[in-house]
Symmetry: C3
Amino acid sequence: MYELMREIFPICRSITGNGVRQTLKKIQSILPIEIHEVPSNTKVFDWTIPKEWNIHDAFVKDPKGEKIIDFNNSNLHVVSYSIPIHKKMSLQELKSHIHTLPKIPDVIPYLTSYYNEDWGFCMTHNDFIKLEEGEYEIMIDSTLENGSLTYGEFLKIGEVEDEFLISCYICHPSMCNDNLSGPVLATILGKYLKEIKTKFSYRFLFIPETIGAITWLSKNEKSIHKIKNGLIATCLGDSGIMTYKKTRNGDNEIDRISKYVLENSKQEFNIIDFLPIGSDERQFCSPAFNLPVGSLMRTMHGKFPEYHTSADNLDFVKAENLEDALIKYSGIIFILENNKKYINLNPKCEPQLGKRGLYRQLGSQKNSEEKELAMFWILNQSDGKNSLLDIAIKSKLDFYLIKQVSDELLEHDLLKIV
Amino acid sequence: MYELMREIFPICRSITGNGVRQTLKKIQSILPIEIHEVPSNTKVFDWTIPKEWNIHDAFVKDPKGEKIIDFNNSNLHVVSYSIPIHKKMSLQELKSHIHTLPKIPDVIPYLTSYYNEDWGFCMTHNDFIKLEEGEYEIMIDSTLENGSLTYGEFLKIGEVEDEFLISCYICHPSMCNDNLSGPVLATILGKYLKEIKTKFSYRFLFIPETIGAITWLSKNEKSIHKIKNGLIATCLGDSGIMTYKKTRNGDNEIDRISKYVLENSKQEFNIIDFLPIGSDERQFCSPAFNLPVGSLMRTMHGKFPEYHTSADNLDFVKAENLEDALIKYSGIIFILENNKKYINLNPKCEPQLGKRGLYRQLGSQKNSEEKELAMFWILNQSDGKNSLLDIAIKSKLDFYLIKQVSDELLEHDLLKIV
Amino acid sequence: MYELMREIFPICRSITGNGVRQTLKKIQSILPIEIHEVPSNTKVFDWTIPKEWNIHDAFVKDPKGEKIIDFNNSNLHVVSYSIPIHKKMSLQELKSHIHTLPKIPDVIPYLTSYYNEDWGFCMTHNDFIKLEEGEYEIMIDSTLENGSLTYGEFLKIGEVEDEFLISCYICHPSMCNDNLSGPVLATILGKYLKEIKTKFSYRFLFIPETIGAITWLSKNEKSIHKIKNGLIATCLGDSGIMTYKKTRNGDNEIDRISKYVLENSKQEFNIIDFLPIGSDERQFCSPAFNLPVGSLMRTMHGKFPEYHTSADNLDFVKAENLEDALIKYSGIIFILENNKKYINLNPKCEPQLGKRGLYRQLGSQKNSEEKELAMFWILNQSDGKNSLLDIAIKSKLDFYLIKQVSDELLEHDLLKIV
């Protein structure tokens, strides 16, 4: 995951344009995503797909003719969706188009102006205060023209049509935690799921944030009922503890499974209620859809000072944090795939386990071993209402043990699946 | 409020009689209440309206002929509803008719004998122990005759018939916290509501405790279904923290609103469950009616040592405590009036706020401002089920902000009312 | 109870055989239980009633011919259901049939081999390590033959068919807490209930654990719907605090009553959730039956080191602990018998208690006494939905007071029973 991140880090992405296409091509070399293009000006619910933006170069030259801002050094230097401009102007005029972060004076902020035609530069505050009076030359070689919005999609078809949605965004320029950590995790997870047999279908979306989710929902409205669980993958590479943000209803299966996985990780974690700011859960959980989509992250957007600045870079994200996050996503999928409900075929009293070789022969003062305990729990609770996760939670026994033992009971014809 | 209290403090009230009439006349000079008279012996459910009691004078003279108890000094000296008597008797005989509080020896207790024809005097224990042997002359110049029970009522008619009931009692003699704090607050609140346009109708009752509530319910049984919320106003002038006593069911709108107002007051407060002792909530919450009527007080009856004694006087109650209580009542009414439910008219994804001038133009690392946050919360939750108070509670944003922002969204045709 | 325990302690019981019959005969001399015999090989659900086991003598003689294990000293010396054997063998061969507890070296463990034909001896680890090399003579004079499984049953018929089940087991050899504490408590409780008039019917079972419960359920499947509450009586004589283990659903009447009794005992206690290990609640709470049967014990099986060893003897159990447990069982039955629901016959406002002599004549600053409080609570809550226990819990008044006052209100025609 970290290697892929390193490769796609330098690309200048925005909500449309060639940066997105390059990024998706790179992902496609690992996971066979389908790439969709939706023309500018297409109506998507209350929104309209904007013109496509591309940028080739940009700079600001000081009165001495030296480049004090050079797009080639950092693609954060230009406000995303800046219109083309080439002009000389006084420092004073220029300043009204320059954005800095006085409180974090050594980083370049990340700004966008998608829906308001404007232009601007971003720079460190340290450099900003050194600017001298005089005439500056500014140049942004960008295009804002009819084109299309690009997104990627991968569907792993499982035994059933019910889908697990994993959505991430690919619209930020060179930033790692927010944003590349999501796509790299989704790519590797998708590649893994592609290789194995699954019960559920898994849909991966690589979309520009907000407008991409709106576009996808608008084009797929008829089939979104298939989404039974979902997660937004974002901010997964920082060194903070895991954070799970609940779905809008807060009591869906994905909420219960995510809580279980985090509680059983023996690591600290946060669980927070749904709130209508954040990433694309805002769209998936809008009132007409109200999809069971939560968000599993490390530190939430806006809660780390590197957020939306040049400090959210390849040093800020660690490979081991990405790995750990992938383990959590895999754990959730493992439980989801195996969270079955059974019916005890001998529901009147306990079946005689001893005659089937499932129980110790000698009754003694010893407490039941974990495996015997698991058998009793599964048999007692398998009335068709309790899932294996419910039983794991009630019994405080590990889900993996419960799953193994239920398989063994199934083989002995003591259970049938609901 | 304090001025009105000072004026009506000296009047000798009881559950019937001219003291009540005088008090209601005084209130009528501020709020146009309707005054009702219900004849003695009228059957009201399981009860019968008692004879009307009036008192003109009363004293006890010691063996030297000096008035050691004089009704003109304090109307608490005579047990309420004492029958007329004029007689000489020994100290011993007299003592069986004298009531004191040995543990608070410097105050006169307040006692009543409404439904048992008897007579008695109350005095401080300090004076009581000074009484010397000899013959005493006692005189109570009272009448207990057929007459009527008197109560006052004011109805502010709103846009809808649904009513908010505010009930207080006007049957205690010279006592301020329990009792005058309720009527003075209700009078001023009623005067204020009379002047403004309201959605709901507001019914104010000024009744003798218990028998008055029973009488009113008996006469208005057919229309009490209009009462959708209510509060008993009592003990509102002492210096204790606010106390909200829940309705019988405990989960009515008035319970949620009162809790919200107290929690957001930045002051300490108590919330207690319903219990069937107290004031007229006992009748309004009797099982056949079970009306959504709570009680908002400062210190609950019986929990302050001045309760039902001469120490519950004009010094014990402070004008600022009454003001503070009025703010709470007004806050509750403000929320009730504005606690609407809306439906988001663009429920599929978020509407594009930017094109309506409702959203900042430049995307940056800044968190949403409170107003933007409020917009997202209202749009996300307005599915017709959540009220503005529900949204304020979930979002932890101030109700007033939520109300303001919902008005703005309504103007932009982004919401419609349920 | 302790006397009865002392008498039946020496008997060698197992899940079948004459030890059970002797024990039941002894109980029958106090409580007229019906004794049932169910033939070996009868199918009971997934199980088959095993052969009947009886034992007359057993020993192990050392190379010198001295009895180093003698069944007459402790019936725990022989693994229950050991097949007959008389043989000489080396120490090494013998050792594979000897069971000890190295961590508690001075006690004899209790072991069983009901469903696997085998033989074995149990002894203290201290004695075991003294065994010398040489030839040992071992003898078990037992029979394992077709016969029957024996259990006892007593039904006290009450006014209604609804039953309270009290089940205990009578299958352990000489052990007191687990197991004799249950049968002795059940016997004395049954004797007491037999003498009095009860509303509910009370069914007492004295059965071998597991196979007995399965047998009884199998034979009585059609009538078990009458069981509305139940308790497994076990481990009631040790000095630990009381433990209530909930029914499978956890919210039955027996759960609420047991919790109330323990909370109001002014003693420490435990309440634990249902778990499918333990005693016969495993069968009564199997998914097809899911009967409202909890378990009221002192220290739970396996949580005291004396469990299933020779240390669980007449010294370990104290008469006062049995008495205290009986008080709890009686308290539960008292509440169950009296936990009625009433309807207030004057549900519109409060009835006038004063005219019925139920209320003090003089209104004063005093708070209501407990009895008045109880009246107000009962009248306010008696809408046909709240039981007297519900009212006791809400009002925090004692159930006994609530019951007494409701009787008084009933006499005054202020209530009627639902």
